[in-house]
Symmetry: C2
Subunit: 207 residues, 2 copies
């Protein structure tokens, strides 16, 4: 239902596609106008600078990510177990390199932008925190608690593994056994479960 | 001894600094000329297109990485144990977010470029393979073998963890226990050790 969404959201969606296809260098106001099918100047009207455009993309990804995590936790039926949480993470990893490839590549571009742009940094922080927090809560809900650091390691590990699957040549992917996401996802979950506790706020919220 | 190195290497070093400071978008021939202190037009003479400049940077990082890994293995004294290998990886992770920050951010930019640029993709593949291969050989040398997939997971995990340490806001870094690289490095090594075997070439070479 794209026609029912507001123009700001449509512009951010278009910017995600441009970022994923052409990289940070390709992200210009005109490229977003073209991608969204809007008259030239539309994006500039909403976001005067490239920095504010990037911040808006990061904000939209953060809001979508946080909302998806909330929905996930609210809709979790009773009686779920460790195997269901595992299946969920394996599915997420598979999505990052297939149907959600554009959003993931845009998120990865924004991680690099975050090093220089404080607004993007704040939004990317919310994405990471929503992800780590959800990991902590999902694991606690099935009686297999993990630490905040474990949640953070799961997020960061998914980032590095998905990026490697997308960026490395096919022969390298095969030689290091990165052609099947499932054992990679199981390894990341095992790492999260074994992580040494961190005395962060997340831990307090999960316990 | 920068004056004893050839101009190509100096240009690649300058390009690494530009990539780390200004991102892929800031990488132009002129910016590299300025960074290297060479007359305008020098970089263009060596690398006619931006794509070939990026490929040269990736090639230099791959060569440096492979050479460093070879030196490391050749210079490894007898009688090293698991604790020494662990100390090495913790030191590498600390370097990625401190003294080797520029090289690491450039490598991360190149991972994104690799999605679109086949020459960069090949070179980035060599970096990843040299890293995974070294991890396999170092662990085998101390009698604690890991699989090729374990080596790949260690490389990919270091990538995601170091990027998160550099890109996330300070408060988020604290909340997920990412302010101390040591427990993160230990978790990544634990994941590498526990990874399910992959029947890749690396495994054959290590066994």
């Amino acid at each position: 239902m794209p026609q029912r969404r507001n123009r700001r959201a449509q512009l951010a969606d278009a910017a995600v596609e441009v970022l994923a296809r052409d990289g940070g260098r390709g992200l210009t106001h005109r490229a977003v106008d073209r991608e969204a099918g809007f008259p030239e100047g539309t994006t500039k009207n909403y976001h005067a600078t490239r920095e504010s455009l990037l911040a808006a993309v990061a904000r939209q990804l953060a809001d979508q990510h946080t909302a998806a995590m909330h929905r996930l936790r609210e809709q979790m039926p009773d009686g779920l177990g460790q195997a269901d949480v595992q299946a969920l993470y394996l599915a997420m990893l598979r999505r990052m390199v297939t149907s959600a490839r554009s959003q993931f590549l845009a998120l990865f571009e924004l991680h690099l932008e975050a090093v220089r742009n404080p607004q993007v940094r704040t939004a990317i922080g919310e994405v990471a925190l929503a992800g780590a927090d959800s990991a902590v809560q999902l694991h606690a809900a099935v009686g297999e608690p993990i630490s905040a650091r474990g949640g953070g390691l799961l997020e960061a590990g998914m980032l590095g593994v998905a990026m490697s699957m997308l960026s490395l040549p096919e022969d390298v992917v095969g030689r290091i056994g990165f052609d099947d996401p499932d054992p990679l996802g199981r390894s990341l979950l095992g790492m999260a479960a074994a992580a040494e506790p961190a005395d962060g706020l997340l831990r307090g919220r999960a316990s």
